[in-house]
Symmetry: C7
Subunit: 278 residues, 7 copies
């Protein structure tokens, strides 16, 4: 029996070693092929090519290791069957387990087939927001803004928000005080906006002053929008904010602090018991 | 065996290339047909035609690639069957996976059949809000206000809010101070509203002053509503807000700042220990 | 084979055209019948009649198009069966898909049968609030206050809130200051309420002063309720609010601003380190 | 074939008319029976009798219309069977649909059998709060405080809160200032509470002063509780609040405004850069 | 046929009357037995006995009425079977309905068997909090603090919080100002706590001063805990709060009001446009 | 028949009595065994032993009573079978009921087998937080801080947070004012921390000053962490807070009150209508 | 029979003892092997090795105890079968129970196979955030920042956030007042940032000043980002905050307190009743 175990162990070791080598070689080949074929006749979307490369590596890895596991398991098979009498229960359980796996793979297939997002896109999926790093057969990896890596099974991907397909809109709100002359401020901002596209090359169309977005309890809010290249709206917003602040300062338009009207009363006046006694 | 693999690879490549060409040709034909047939005898709703064009492209793409995949898989079939003994488990899992797919397709069919929304409508579906860009067989794409693209399977579409079917109502709230003469303010606003429909052509009916919507701790809120063309209420609201603010300024009606009555006390009076000791 | 496809295409086209014509004719007939039969012997509830008219149109449309789809599919049948070997998987998936459809139809049937709401009622169902525009076999449409249209499958309708069946109650809260004489204010409000039913014809019963609803940190809140015709409580509340504000102003009852008692301290007194050092 | 359709139509019409008449007659009989039998020998709980009357009407309506529908459907049967080949799918779907129906009926049965609430009780079930108007076989109707009608299937009724079975407790919180003499205030409130049961007949037991419920940042909160007849606690609370406010005013106990201690500093002292430079 | 119906009606009536009588007699017997057997040899936990008495009544009621219903149904059986052809659908639906019923009964059984709570215990289960009034076979009834009765099926009982098994801990937080001498305040509170157990007999162990629980922006919070008899912590907390407030007042320890440091600036200094122009 | 019932009753009574006696004897034996075997050769983890003792009692109780119930039921069997024809429905329902029971037991088994927590550990599981009192076969009991007992089925235990396995970290945040010299404060706190481990023996490693955790609108927050014995961090935090407050007071480092810069304006200046008129 | 029980007990004891010894020996061997093999030819990722060591121990423990349990159960088998007649119900229930177990194991397998996280990584999974301590076959253990241990089944692991794979980004926001010269402040911060990488070796790239992130009601917020080694961003942020505060103090750039503009009014002016009377 000990011989048997040793033999099985050896077999398992060999399978693992071989599988490891095959995976490495395959990955290398895939990378080379893709770096060469960029200028081939089929002219794949460059954005999609990167996705495909990552995916192919992933698929090959799974396929090879899957076969390795089957091989390893088959080496043990006889013992396992001996242990568990009720194989039906195991079959049922494995069936349910595989269900999730299949769901992940099918959804992953549609993500790539429908080109919902590619490697390098900036997306928001559930709680994950960031740049897609890898779309695998079973899981997707997204790298967040502050460096964290989100890993989730494809079956969890339902609502995708993709920021990299269309141009982004930078939205900047400016507060001005009630006392400001709205017409004059609008004129000033309009003038200011004219020069922006020259200054920021990420701005596609001339920015627009939408108008009085809201009148809060202490401020009038003016909204400006500017269409930019995808995901450039953060940088553009920051720029507009700074430039506009300086511009309005020069023109003497005040950005208001919160304001409150105070009415002073003497304590006698506000003490109910005093009044009641009168 | 290597020959076999090479042969399969070649076959797969060919299938992919042919499928790609067919899809492109079909898409081109669909677009041409639709751009021609606008003035045909059947007189489809123009709004719906755009939806149909996008959908047909989508359906053709799926159909062609679906056949291609079947073809590709059939090239591999023998190997797969050899690997997995328990095909029942796989069948079950695929059945469950297909279930979601079918659900998406059926819901998608009803969205189009019941004309819940068309390409170009402004809708809110779950967390996605924006203009519908494409209604596919399996997924719908909605482009948000700031440029992001929402992609979700049709099976997730349950509650649809469509803003493009009926006229919109612009709602503007104006705050006036407690000290204002409500009757006079109402008269002033009524006069102001009379001229609005001339100024903004998006306004359908003469706007209405609903009255005193609420009395908060420091303000009286008057509500104005104006029926506009679909999705024009944002622009109209902004316009009314600005014009009304200027109008009320001219007439001397104050928009109040938050107000607080302060009662001054000396520290001795408010120190409990001091009082207790007396 | 190309001939076959062309033939099938022709057949499909013909089916669609015929179905379209049948639906239009049927809708026209339904509308005529209902506009005539209002004074028939059966005396249906007028409110319900409108619902029935909309529903019948909906049912006829579905029935005709359903037959058309069956006809179209049967033209394709042979090819589909040829493609998919495992028809069991498809059957299962379609069964699950149909399940939702049936659930929608059954719930829709009960909504109409139990008269939970009719076309024209003001309802709140889930997140949708507004006037019912159409109750279909599968979906219900509700038009919101600001013009948006909510569309949801009947299967999602569980908790219905219907505002159009019973009279509504207008609830108006008035804040008075701590220093006010509550008894006098109550007397004043009582007098004020006596004249209301004459002024607003939507008020059914004489309004009631419930009393001191709450004593917050700076105000005493008095609550008034008035029973009005269904959905007239918004308008009535606005009217009462304005009239009462003017009335209390005349009588010299103050609506209080938020109030705060300030205790002044010199910095030395409040610097812990200074004290500690002593 | 047209004859056939006409015949079926006639048959359906007749079934509907007969069913309508039967339902009306049955309802009338039920109402008469119940108005007579109040003094019968079985002495049903009067509260429950009203529930039963409503329920019986509901059951009869369902039963009659159910038979009518079966009759109507049987008139169509041959055509339907002809259309749909796969009756198994339909059977499955109807089975699932009926499941919800049965669940509603079973839960409804237990609501009445266990007397969880009766018509006229004030209850809170899920988001619905108000007076029960009707307990049907499938749905329950609750009328809310402001006139809206909540309609929900009995299957949604899980957690019931019934306010009409036991006496209610009115809870009144009074704020007094830190500077007040707690012992004296407690004595005063105790005296005040003694007279309450005479004044408000809905109060069952002498109200109780629980004591210092909480000490917040600016107030001491004293809590009073009074047991009242079911659902009379709102009215009683309002009364106690008003009376107690007047009483404390007379006795010179202050209800405190929010309070804040202000420490004045000169700008130089608080500018970090100035200090840092020193 | 009418004879048949009359006969069935009579039969049903008789069954109901007999069942009603049996239930009443059984309940009476149960109550007598339990009031007698308190001093029997088996010495059941007195707390559990009350639960058992209520439960037994409940079980007997169900059992008798269940048999009655079976009897009534069997009188109708022949007609029902005649109406519905597909009995399988009904069976399935009833099976699912019964599933919930069985789940409720099983969970109810474990609640009593594991003695999770008994009649009279103060518990929190889901949203219900109050004293347990009845544990039935299918539902549990809990009476809330303000008199409302919570009724929920036992199947909903998962997380139980029982307050009546162990002693409760009264937690009292005291705020003192930054300027206070913490060491002295701790000494004072320690002295104060020594006398408490004599004053409040519900306190089991000498209360403890935990120390400085938190330092908020304007206060230092000291925490005191006192172990009391079950559910006596509310009353004890109220007492400690009042006594401690008086004690600290006597000793001159200030309970601080919220505090804010104000820095005054002239408008010129804070107007950015003015500065920018310089 | 009455004889039969009496006989069954007697049998049931006997079974209950015998089962009660067996359970008591078994519990006694278990306690004795465990109090003896602490010094046995197997050297179980002492923490685990207590868990095992409680569990064994629980298992024995269940096993005995389970057999008793089977015995009691078998006495009734014949009657029950007679009543219910469709035993299949009952079987299905019991199967589903047992499913939950089995899930609870399996999860309970893994809790103990994987040693996720033991009796006496301080844990947070779902909404329950406190000391584990008993881990049973089906339910777990946790005693909360204020004396309440949480009882929940093991199947609800998914995410366990165990505070008793590793050392705890006490986290203390100190606010200092903008005007403070950060470098000096850091030096002072460092000196202060050096003496702490001697003062509090629960501190394992010398505490650490992490640095400037945050700069809020009015304060600089410095964070200190100290590793303590498990669950000693509450006590240690309280101690550090008090000592540090006194230390900083001595050294003249101010803990700042909230601060606000006030800019005074005259009413004329801030009234928009006045300005607009100019 | 007693003999039989004794014999079974002995057998069970022996099985447990043997299993315990085997597990200990196996664990020892695994540890030794791994500490030796670090420099073997296969060159596993060092990070993964630690995970493997822990996992192998876990797997061996399970495997051994699983066999032991099977052995123990088989000793009891005959009795159990005798007790429960309906073994089908048990089988079903065990099947469902095992389903969860299998799901946990499969997910656990993919976590390790896809290298989602390893022992020592800092991750956030659901509500658990901390350092991974152990990845077992069924459960994962994560040690939180303050010392608590999170234990959850692998089946609950869906969305993983791994902070240890990529570099982290430290984000520091600085508030400056409206009155500041933005251009100058930007210049100052830029100069400040140049020296940072030398000071903090965890900073990988020169930090960046993103610009004006936001303009709130009283402050301008400037954002700085710095790429650091994984999980070093907390320490780096703290350092930057302190250094920058000192630097800006030196340069005379003010960090603003919240600001409010106060408008003083006399009570007469703000009392509506007074005005109304005029």
């Amino acid at each position: 029996m000990w011989l048997n175990i040793a033999f099985v162990g050896l077999k398992v070791l060999m399978i693992i070693v071989v599988a490891g080598i095959v995976v490495r070689v395959a990955k290398m080949l895939i990378r080379k092929t893709f770096s060469v074929r960029i200028k081939g006749p089929l002219k794949y979307n460059e954005r999609r090519q990167q996705t495909m490369s990552k995916l192919l590596e992933n698929v090959v890895t799974y396929a090879v290791y899957f076969m390795a596991i089957i091989a390893v398991l088959s080496a043990f098979t006889i013992d396992i069957t001996g242990l568990i009498a009720g194989a039906g229960v195991l079959g049922l359980a494995v069936g349910f387990g595989a269900q999730n796996l299949v769901k992940d793979v099918i959804t992953g297939f549609f993500i790539i087939f429908e080109d919902q997002f590619s490697v390098g896109d900036y997306v928001r999926i559930g709680q994950a927001e960031g740049t897609v790093e890898e779309i695998g057969l079973r899981t997707t990896k997204v790298k967040g803004f502050t460096g964290e890596l989100f890993i989730f099974p494809n079956g969890n991907v339902t609502d995708v928000v993709n920021f990299s397909i269309h141009n982004s809109i930078a939205v900047v709100d400016v507060n001005i005080s009630y006392e400001s002359d709205i017409a004059r401020v609008e004129r000033l901002i309009q003038e200011f906006l004219v020069d922006l596209p020259e200054k920021y090359e990420q701005i596609i169309k001339p920015p627009e002053l939408l108008g009085v977005q809201n009148i809060t309890t202490t401020e009038i809010i003016m909204r400006i929008t500017a269409e930019t290249l995808p995901m450039q709206h953060f940088a553009v917003s920051r720029g507009i904010r700074r430039d506009l602040k300086e511009y309005l300062d020069q023109k003497g338009v005040e950005i208001p602090y919160p304001r409150m009207v105070m009415v002073q009363r003497s304590p006698e006046e506000s003490n109910p018991s005093v009044i009641a006694k009168k």
